[in-house]
Symmetry: C2
Subunit: 392 residues, 2 copies
């Protein structure tokens, strides 16, 4: 029976090896029912709950009641989902219809072994492994088709962590206008707040924009030319040419997006209406854009009327502001210098911007001196606008 013994030894050996291999991929920790502030190495939430002790956030655990939809799980969206997962968000709803490729490896999050998997599936596996407490839902389709748009609309209006509630926030991390306009249409119709984000084709600038239907300019209020003129942006792509990208710019843009998401959801600090990033000189412009009363989107116009009709005191209550001094409770009694830069507010400037854009793109040889309207009106970063037009 030496042959049988040998085979049984072989089986024992294989079982052992299999166990070792499995240990590398099994769920790494049990679920945690309640966030604890206990300072022990085994507590994945200690450093987040410490935000309460530091006087930054009043009730950090409330993050578990929040639902965020992330549309586009690419260079910005995947890092966004990763950050929210590590922060212990209640529920994440991921939308994408693309597959992971080796060409994505110059950005954070995905790994080469995931090449060929759908982005939402690959992301969901990694995120659940990192934090099994987060509820993750995936939607593997293109939200811009008629049928899928309805599914998208239905999901964000009923997908909240409480039964039959909308999500708390939609984060757009897509790379094309059609998808941005779809999100804009849905959020205007539902009156849902969302953040638009983007990075430029040359990889050295990015931005985020907080859109509160009726209160701030929507994505359609100052449409980029390519959208305004119904040009199919696919015709702008050329064979053998691809956009540049950097993990740095993508990571910073995702960081700005999630930081402002946390400020909004957990009610601390000032949420930026628009925050840009120019990597060439580390310049970060901030501004606010009022809605365009002539906006083509009728839901935007309705939301604007509703917003105007709201009694001012209610509007103020709804505004995401926290007037309590920073670190009021810090035990050192140190006060912060108020180093807030003045925020440029472009009153009704959206029309002018759209005009400026048209001018800039119709006359590509134009110098910056010839388009003072654009530069002066809203501190617009041409690099960004250019990126918006040419985004993939």
């Amino acid at each position: 029976m030496s042959a049988l013994d040998e085979l049984q030894a072989k089986i024992a050996e294989l079982k052992n090896e299999l166990e070792l291999q499995k240990s590398a991929t099994r769920a790494a920790r049990e679920r945690i029912d309640k966030m604890s502030a206990e300072v022990v190495d085994s507590n994945p939430y200690s450093r987040l709950m410490a935000l309460q002790r530091m006087g930054i956030v009043k009730e950090y655990e409330r993050i578990r009641e929040k639902t965020v939809a992330v549309v586009g799980i690419g260079g910005v969206g995947s890092v966004t989902a990763d950050m929210l997962t590590r922060c212990g968000i209640g529920k994440l709803i991921l939308f994408d219809y693309d597959k992971v490729e080796l060409a994505n490896m110059n950005r954070l999050f995905f790994t080469p072994d995931q090449a060929g998997l759908s982005k939402v599936e690959a992301a969901a596996r990694t995120l659940s492994f990192i934090n099994p407490d987060v509820r993750i839902e995936t939607h593997n389709y293109n939200i811009t088709t008629v049928e899928s748009f309805d599914k998208f609309l239905n999901t964000i209006s009923h997908g909240g962590i409480q039964p039959d509630t909308p999500v708390d926030l939609v984060l757009s991390c897509v790379d094309n206008f059609e998808a941005r306009m779809a999100i804009n249409t849905a959020c205007n119709e539902l009156g849902l707040n969302w953040f638009e984000s983007g990075v430029s084709e040359n990889a050295v600038s990015g931005h985020i924009q907080f859109i509160r239907p009726g209160e701030t300019a929507c994505f359609g209020c100052a449409p980029p030319l390519v959208v305004a003129e119904n040009i199919d942006e696919k015709t702008l792509k050329r064979e053998g040419v691809c956009a540049a990208s950097l993990p740095t710019t993508m990571g910073i843009t995702a960081g700005m997006l999630v930081q402002n998401t946390l400020k909004y959801l957990l009610n601390f600090g000032e949420v930026s209406d628009y925050l840009g990033y120019n990597a060439m000189n580390d310049f970060f412009p901030r501004m606010s854009l009022k809605p365009n009363t002539q906006c083509d989107d009728r839901h935007c116009q309705e939301r604007q009327k509703e917003y105007q009709a709201r009694p001012k005191v209610i509007a103020e209550e709804c505004a995401v502001e926290d007037d309590t001094p920073l670190h009021e409770t810090n035990e050192w009694g140190i006060e912060l210098v108020d180093d807030s830069p003045p925020v440029a507010e472009s009153t009704e400037a959206s029309k002018e911007v759209a005009t400026g854009l048209r001018l800039a793109y119709e006359a590509p040889e134009i110098t910056t001196e010839s388009v003072p309207t654009v530069a002066a009106a809203a501190n617009v970063d041409l690099d960004d606008l250019f990126a918006q037009m040419k985004a993939l």
Copy 2:
């Protein structure tokens, strides 16, 4: 022989399962000898090489000749190493003596299954898996002990990718003063450029500082009080209290650090001397600090004399500046608005800052109005300084 058949079937089954498990952990791609700009899904460098076509970087492949030492593989250092790896850096040298804990999971990069592993080992495995083209060297010790400091000094002065050359840059991502001072001492002695980085204990601010010995203020030129007075910072820690941290602030700080590293190594854009980040209001101060002629570090003083003695033209050549217009070669002929914010330069302000610091910390009940020197002289972010003093 039915028993034998059964066993052999079992073996075949186990082998198959093992193969599947292994496929999840094996090296995901082969090494690539030469970076290619070819636009295919299987090329992990296409989006980086596209920076050349976009007119941002002249010779992106030169990144393969560069060596960067990252000291501290925590919330900032791990993401920094991840970004550099995905950018295809030639060689990374990682220093840390800590282990991964579940309490680190609220920041990017490490996964719960790595709890208990040394940070450098866990990082090296993940990074090699992501990009097998990067040469990764790990050093698992505390650089502040006398013996280890010599090893550290030797490694950064001879660890370059070319035999017997220094590294191209040292990135400090440590969380304590002793380690920062060790790096400062080493880089002053060797005349090596380095970036200091840090995040505040309350998780809502961060900064990076580019230190070029003799040319800009070194870390010892304006020492925080805790260092100036030789207080052991360990005595500042209290039982059951830990610093807060956020993946957003850490990710943005790492992004600012690596973006400026890329600008420096590949010679594009403007490298910031100091870039801060205040998450509460999305404010990003920039400034420059000149060296302190009374600096306690004698190597700093020597480097200052050397720098002063250098003929101005050479000094200018060495300065990291690129005066060519942005996107000179872009095919759309669009020029950028020069939206560079003025950079505050604090001439010989370092002594005053040190004095201001002393004042601020000696009188904790003081209001901001009483320390105009600090605020006016160098636009110093109290939050940051506070964080520097209390950093873990």
